[in-house]
Symmetry: C2
Subunit: 202 residues, 2 copies
DNA sequence: TTGCTGTTTGACAATAATGTCAAACATTGC
DNA sequence: GCAATGTTTGACATTATTGTCAAACAGCAA
């Protein structure tokens, strides 16, 4: 059999990942992706059945990558605060590396192309619900201990998510409002950890 | 001349507003909008030149509405904390009334249909930049006073925006994760004010 | 060389959505 | 009634994009 000597497939994946999740151009056509990869459009259909399948692959890769990073520490025996700090670190890193992943999920959920169930299934691990419940319990304990302000565990979790995700999601807007360059905004994101912690803990 | 006795135009606007910003189905076709309004598709083009123009109108209405509400108090002489509280109130009300407006801006920014400049121009008032600067100054004063945690004014502003906008933007996701009905989520949003304040102030 | 398998190409078909247009219709003023 | 103006309709043209397919091509094995 003829060996696949050229790395066409990888070139396509890389180009797509870059365009979609680094540049945030979700509407990019298969033609644009093919051009960026330096191949003909038909090859996208040859290696992946459709545009959607290509997406799936990239998305799954990103999710698995993040999952792996989080799993180790989240289930470890470190303190609540340590866990949150690590969580923030991982999330900020993701925001810097693939800034538009979250924005994509949001967009697609609202487009109706993916319904929320599918989105959640895609970005969540199987046993998400039990994990969420366990996490909410932990938060409750912390509130009793007095390390975080008194509020419902749900509010705390939503606050945490918001503080982490929105600066990435609304990146283009903030850049314009604050008249920041790409580089400046990345620096801004990179230093947010302290401000996030101050918003979360007493 | 024949008087426009039927309110076709209004019906279209209402249907579009509902589908786009209450249901969040941004991809809805002109046909769907026409159906919802109970008119033929061609009438969308008759009353508004194109689908985009229709969007513009609705978006502008929403913006002007919110602007009006904010302007009065923001420029008044109330305290910083009072201003923020009012800001939160208005924003939450908007989240309940037209929950998908922000998600739309985000989506469209990233779709590349609107570039960030246009988006910001659309949702911002003319003199936004001076207002932003004035607001950042106010934040700085508050930090010196010690009413809010020590961080850059930018961080504070981004925290504020995130805590307000993200729960609306990511609404479909949160509903699924927390297994909440529409009504339950609305109730959750309605009670968030205290939790937001606790995250912002010392 | 010949044949096999995987790869690449260009042309084509299918689909989905938007916007246009001429003609039909309705309402009002005269 | 009948012009005149605004409204509504259905058919059509246009455009953009995706996916398919048969044929050409390249490398390896016998």
């Amino acid at each position: 059999m003829a060996i696949k000597d050229s790395n066409t497939e990888k070139q396509i994946v890389e180009a797509a990942r870059h365009i979609f999740f680094k540049e945030g151009r979700f509407k990019a056509t298969t033609q644009e992706i093919a051009d960026a990869a330096g191949v003909t459009r038909t090859l996208l259909n040859y290696y992946f059945r459709s545009r959607d399948v290509l997406f799936e692959k990239i998305l799954q890769d990103a999710r698995e990558n993040m999952d792996a990073k989080l799993k180790t520490v989240m289930e470890g025996s470190s303190s609540f605060r340590e866990k949150i700090e690590y969580f923030i670190d991982v999330f900020i890193e993701q925001s810097l590396n693939l800034p538009y992943i979250d924005a994509y999920m949001i967009s697609r959920m609202n487009d109706g192309i993916l319904n929320p169930d599918e989105v959640v299934d895609k970005l969540a691990t199987r046993d998400m619900h039990t994990k969420v419940k366990r996490f909410l319990k932990e938060i409750e304990t912390e509130i009793e201990k007095g390390t975080i302000p008194h509020m419902t565990p749900l509010d705390f979790m939503v606050n945490l998510s918001s503080l982490l995700a929105y600066p990435g999601v609304a990146q283009p807007m903030f850049k314009k409002i604050f008249q920041m360059s790409d580089k400046q905004y990345r620096q801004f994101l990179a230093q947010r950890k302290a401000a996030i912690l101050k918003a979360l803990f007493k």
